[in-house]
Amino acid sequence: MAGVANPMAGFRLVAVDEKKRFMLALIAPAVLVLVFFQILPILTGANASFRDWHLNDPKKTWIGLTNYAYVVRDREFLNVVLPNTFGFLAASVAASLIAGLMLALLLNRQFPGRWLVQTIVLLPLMVAPVIAAIMIRWMFNDQFGIVNVILEAFGIAPIAWLTQKWTAFFAILLTDVWLWTPWFALLLLAALQSLPPEPFEAAQIDAASAWRTFRYITLPMLRPVIVVCVVIRAIDAFRTFDIVWTISGGGPARATEVFSIYAYVEAFQFLNFGRGSAAAVLGAIIIVVFAMALYRLLNRWVEVSR
């Protein structure tokens, strides 16, 4: 309305429109792919979670929150799956962050053969997680596995690794840490190499010890990168599927089931697609809330420490 009276306002309107059109054109392809291959499936799943939808008998009648009520009351879900998932998340992220940080510090120094060490350390990035999991299952096999052979050489009785809860959990955790430490190392190494050299020179002139240089200079400067890495990795660890599925299949007797396995088993082994979808939706809500809280918390921690 002002556009007609004031020629300048009309000009501004057109300019804003052109800018907006450019912005929308830039994200249009991404939005299209996201809508058709992520949002549409998620809505399909959410719809199924309110229905009596067995894969062998898809009646698809609306049953409200029955599926959700079942999952929330399921002892398996509350007492095994949730503690397992969050325990796995915390242990895996903490272990691979510390190991990755140590490796990044090592690789940031100059020494002969550094290139070779770096290539070896990055090996796990090249191995498909499912292959790594198959190999671990093979190495921890109670009869033929190399781990028991080595233990026997030291006079320790062979352990049935994958048929007890905590040893199976350990094997899964070990695989995850092995797979993801290089990822942390890579991102932290990139960050280390982009740090300005002056604070380190000043520390050297002041004869600061290696530990104090690390604690008071390197670590604070790395914190933003560490926050981003931890948030991304925590989200991924929450939805781990393939290595748990391959190593233990959630067994023995569903003792190592994590959230993704629970949803998959409900949907495809018990053929209750509606209930599996309800579990998946609940998990999605939990992780979205958790990830936001984690991001806020870590972000605040970074700013306070600055």
């Binding site: 830039l26 991404a30 058709f36 399909t44 990055l122 790594a132 052979v149 092995w178 979205v288």
Partner: protein, 284 residues
């Protein structure tokens, strides 16, 4: 806190001096070698298993019969060759498409402020968190309904959807690190917005794009869950074929290992040539 550290710092220096002259160096060397062994061992074991004949595979640590027959047998199977080609094609196409789609979206997030970028960033952050299981199951029905189940497109586009969130986030970081004044200069000289993006900003972001390309290629090459659910006989994918050697066709560890070693080859080449670009380009 600080007094404790003040006491500990010199003690750790004495510790290394007490070892021996050069003790620190020996300690460092030992640690490095141990780390390398720990990281290389599962891969070493995989290679060793792939070189053992089928009858000796259960006692890999005993005996010394080695053979290349496993590779010959695996490569004579048509499905493995097809899967090698499919995996390569899918990984390459997914890399090209994902980078194309997310370069523009990351540029938008970096250069503009307002409701559209905020809403878009919120959307990708939320969708990044949604667990794979909650959309890979319905995705099966969706790709079926679209008639692209078990084709290249049916696996490619979901992969691109996976990458959109994380890559847009990282791309934003790349473009944040590039000074926009060059683009303004180009626009004053008569470049359109698209021209400024394509001719000025994009070339400056190439190191970052290369790093992401390497990571994206490796990720797609190694992906399992999507390949398992979204493909069937027509489009065999290498990771699924490998896993089938120890699931459905009996426990053929030697054949599985041989295929896995074959799959490792291209990944090794990509990593060896790509690692320096990755480290140079990945600065969040």
């Amino acid at each position: 806190m600080s007094t404790i550290e003040a006491i500990q710092a010199p003690r750790s220096r004495y510790f290394f001096e007490a070892l021996a002259p050069g003790g620190r160096r020996a300690f460092f060397l030992l640690g490095t070698v141990a780390t390398c062994l720990l990281f290389a061992f599962p891969v070493f074991w995989l290679v060793l298993t792939s070189l053992r004949p089928g009858y000796a595979v259960y006692y890999v640590h005993r005996g010394s019969d080695f053979t290349l027959d496993n590779f010959r047998e695996v490569l004579s199977q048509e499905i493995v060759l097809k899967a090698l080609w499919n995996s390569f094609a899918i990984a390459t196409l997914a890399t090209v498409l994902s980078l194309g789609v997310t370069a523009t979206s990351g540029y938008m997030l970096s250069r503009f402020r307002g409701t559209i970028p905020t809403a878009w960033f919120g959307a990708i952050y939320v969708f990044r968190c949604v667990p794979y299981v909650s959309w890979v199951l319905p995705l099966y029905f969706v790709t079926r309904a679209m008639g692209i189940f078990d084709t290249y497109w049916g696996l490619l586009l979901p992969h691109v959807a996976v990458h959109i969130c994380f890559f847009s986030w990282i791309m934003k970081g790349f473009f944040d690190g590039i000074d926009p004044s060059m683009e303004y200069a180009a626009m004053i000289d008569g470049c359109s917005r698209w021209g400024a993006f394509l001719r000025v900003a994009l070339p400056a972001a190439v190191p970052g794009l290369t790093a992401l390309a390497v990571l994206c290629w490796l990720y797609t090459w190694n992906e399992f869950l999507f390949a398992l659910i979204l493909t069937a006989q027509n489009t065999p994918i290498l990771t699924v074929v490998m896993a089938q050697f120890v699931h459905e066709l009996g426990m053929e560890w030697h054949l599985m290992s041989a295929t896995a070693v074959l799959a490792l080859g291209p990944a090794l080449i990509v990593t060896i040539f790509g690692q320096k670009y990755v480290i140079r380009g990945l600065k969040i």
